[in-house]
Symmetry: C2
Subunit: 451 residues, 2 copies
């Protein structure tokens, strides 16, 4: 037992674990990547005090700290390795306040997004950030990655829902950022800066978030099938071009559709090669859905529509089955490029060209409403083959050329570090590193990630 | 002519002005405050190149630079004084791109918000940030102050509408921040950090912003009168408590109402002492307005409602007349506290107590939908009397106690510097100063403002 672990134990008692299985679990996340070896210890923080105590010891002993929620990240941002402390905020999972009149809630970081929404739903309320992982990912993790999801085009990204944060700095000091009011412009917006900072700047220990009232009116949902992925992409573009604003618009390409059929035993591919799910909410939902349906069928799409909520869940279940279906095929590297929504067909063309060049299949999903694509690379074994990295390289550069970004919602973590400079440029990268240094002068927070 | 001015002239020719009247105009803004003396020169930048050239000279000669748009700020953030260069971006006023399919536009910083919206309206589009000053304030200034306005509760603050920025650093280097896609989480979110940074970090020279399609459906507008300001505040609270989401909800207190009557010759105060304007948009607007009307009349409010757009403009014109009406009474110090919306009645009580204690009247307007209040101090002469500062001090501390903030939408500038530490705390203030230093190591950008 190292001196650091001894100090942690003395300060935090049985919140500190060095159980081999637990340490081993900290080496990986949902990215499919692993660190070379296990971390020193896991601290299961139960309170802000625990987090502060951990960070004071980490600073004193110069020990690196990896903050971790549920470990569902897709970019390796919460992977821990040799000599590191894992600071888990998963046990800090209370909802401290739900204020219906001010439409805000105060939560600890470890609450699962889905669980938080269940609690809110009892009062007819909801939290808009809606990553596909919401059943298993924490609100703290959602904020640390500025998580996206299905509803962003209409309801914004996680950052837009965060009013204030309590953050512990590397040396253990507690900061209170932001406010409880809708508006507030006092000083630099460090609350916004923390959103998406991937554990580099501080540890989020409490969040004051905007909540919403459940949207009144019908929920109208369309599931539609097309001959090819470009037809589906063109239909989605035509829907937004008609001035419609779906809450959800999700596209599935042919190889993902076949994977779903194989995994769940369905026969979706008999109806078409590509799938587009479109959902409208609010008072105009049914009318909007009828207009979308006309656009879809006018373009040769084969579509079902429902205003029944259970039936809608069944239609969207096709999309939700995509990730497990792909995981069943091998190790999955889920990419996450984002482009302006009209560039979606061009990006699909670029993916097709890369598939051809490298002789591989890149099953792709897209949040079509906001131009965020998830091309998947599937391979055997734990390590990403060089060829896959080479193909991913071309994919990223294609997205940047189209005015897009390396990562729409998953983050940089360890997975996309090598391309960071391509997007940011050296001047901005340097500035970002200096900002990191202001928060974390010793460089003990999530070292080796992002930069 | 100083050496700095000579260098500017050599590099920028007739973009540089030392005209006494022009320099004098740079000493003040709409805050009612002035600097002690005139700045060195005004550079009327026509291009990014001009901005870069100016900053290279400023860095070389260690000359402070105050970036300025239309000079409509209410906190003194763009006031310039002795030895400073004013870098005006007002002439950089082109709309470079309007992309209806991607719902984004690229603009230069000097375009007026209102003019930009006129251009967008020709295509059935709009830019949601809606400060009351939109006819005279620039989009660059709106971003630099993270401007609020009437629509924030429903449509967000300016930050939420900014996708990407081009920014010139103090040493003249050009950075490209953000992206054209709806989502993007590559590195730290410096785009969000620039919003509301009040000219401290860099010069915004181009902005890629989200635009929206005009909201379909009826616009339903209510003008209502009440016996007192608490009744109006309670009615607004009851409307949001009923689950309704107005686009606009504006409250006017008795002394502002009387000032409007005196200024425009109306007799509004005959119908009541306090006024609440409520506007709904979208497909459910008329239905929502009828529900709001029931709530208002059930509480003894005296209300008119219209679904005619011209008639609606007339009803909202009452609110728009407030600022000129108050300015007619004397020098006006417009305050800008923001509290959680349910704390609005408590904040009005706090204001009443301060009025009583100091024997003064504090005419107050409020964006009731989001809890942002504008208490106004009116006095003779250019200088704020000590008694007004003392009263303002109590006002700010009352807002902070209610979970609010010193400034909801105007910024800190020079006006609220002394209270900054009260809200942020010393640790955060220190961190913010260090971030400023990363961007501006020589401290030449807007020195003496905010921090």
């Amino acid at each position: 037992m190292t001196d650091t672990v001894a100090q942690l134990r003395e300060a935090l008692g049985d919140a500190v674990s060095t159980d081999a299985a637990q340490l081993d679990a900290m080496r990986s996340d949902k990215s499919g990547h692993s660190s070379g070896s296990a971390p020193l210890a896991v601290v299961h923080a139960r309170s802000i005090d625990d987090v502060q105590a951990t960070m004071r010891i980490a600073t004193q002993t110069r020990t690196p700290v990896v903050t971790r929620g549920a470990g569902t990240g897709l970019a390796g941002g919460a992977i821990a390795g040799s000599g590191e402390i894992v600071l888990s905020t998963l046990a800090m999972d209370r909802v401290l306040e739900i204020n219906e009149s001010d439409l805000l809630a105060v939560v600890e970081p470890g609450i699962l997004n889905g669980r938080f929404n269940e609690i809110l739903a009892e009062q007819g309320l909801w939290f808009a950030p809606d990553p596909a992982s919401k059943a298993i990912s924490t609100v703290g993790g959602n904020i640390a990655t500025n998580a996206g999801g299905l509803l962003c085009a209409k309801y914004g990204v996680t950052r837009d829902a965060v009013l204030g944060l309590k953050v512990v700095l590397p040396d253990g000091r507690l900061l209170t950022l932001g406010h409880r009011s809708v508006k507030g412009v006092t000083g630099l917006d460090l609350t916004a800066l923390m959103a998406g900072s991937e554990g580099l700047l501080g540890i989020i220990v409490e969040a004051t978030v905007r909540i919403r009232r459940e949207v009144a009116g019908t929920l109208a949902t369309i599931a539609s099938f097309y001959p090819g992925v470009r037809d589906a992409a063109a239909a989605s573009a035509a829907i937004t071009a008609a001035g419609l604003q779906p809450a959800v618009m999700e596209l599935i390409d042919p190889s993902v559709l076949r994977a779903i059929d194989a995994f769940v035993g369905s026969s979706l591919a008999q109806r078409g090669n590509a799938h587009l799910a479109v959902q409208f909410d609010g008072p105009g939902a049914a009318e909007d859905a009828h207009r979308a349906l006309e656009i879809i069928t006018g373009r040769g799409g084969d579509a079902d529509m429902t205003t029944d909520r259970d039936e809608a869940e069944k239609l969207l279940a096709i999309r939700r089955a995509a990730h497990p279906s792909l995981e069943a095929l091998g190790t999955t590297l889920i990419e996450d490029v984002s482009v302006p929504r009209t560039a979606l067909p061009d990006m699909f063309d670029a993916i097709a060209a890369i598939e051809k060049k490298f002789g591989i299949t890149i099953p792709t999903l897209a949040h079509a409403g906001d131009g965020n694509l998830h091309p998947n690379f599937i391979f055997d074994g734990p390590d990403v083959p060089d060829e896959v990295w080479a193909a991913a390289d071309e994919l990223f550069l294609a997205a940047l050329k189209l005015g897009g970004t390396l990562t729409g919602e998953h983050g940089i973590g360890i997975l996309k570090k090598r391309w960071l400079g391509d997007e940011l440029g050296e001047d901005q990268l340097d500035l970002q590193r200096q900002i990191k240094q202001v928060f974390d002068p010793l460089g003990i927070l999530n070292p080796g990630k992002v930069f």
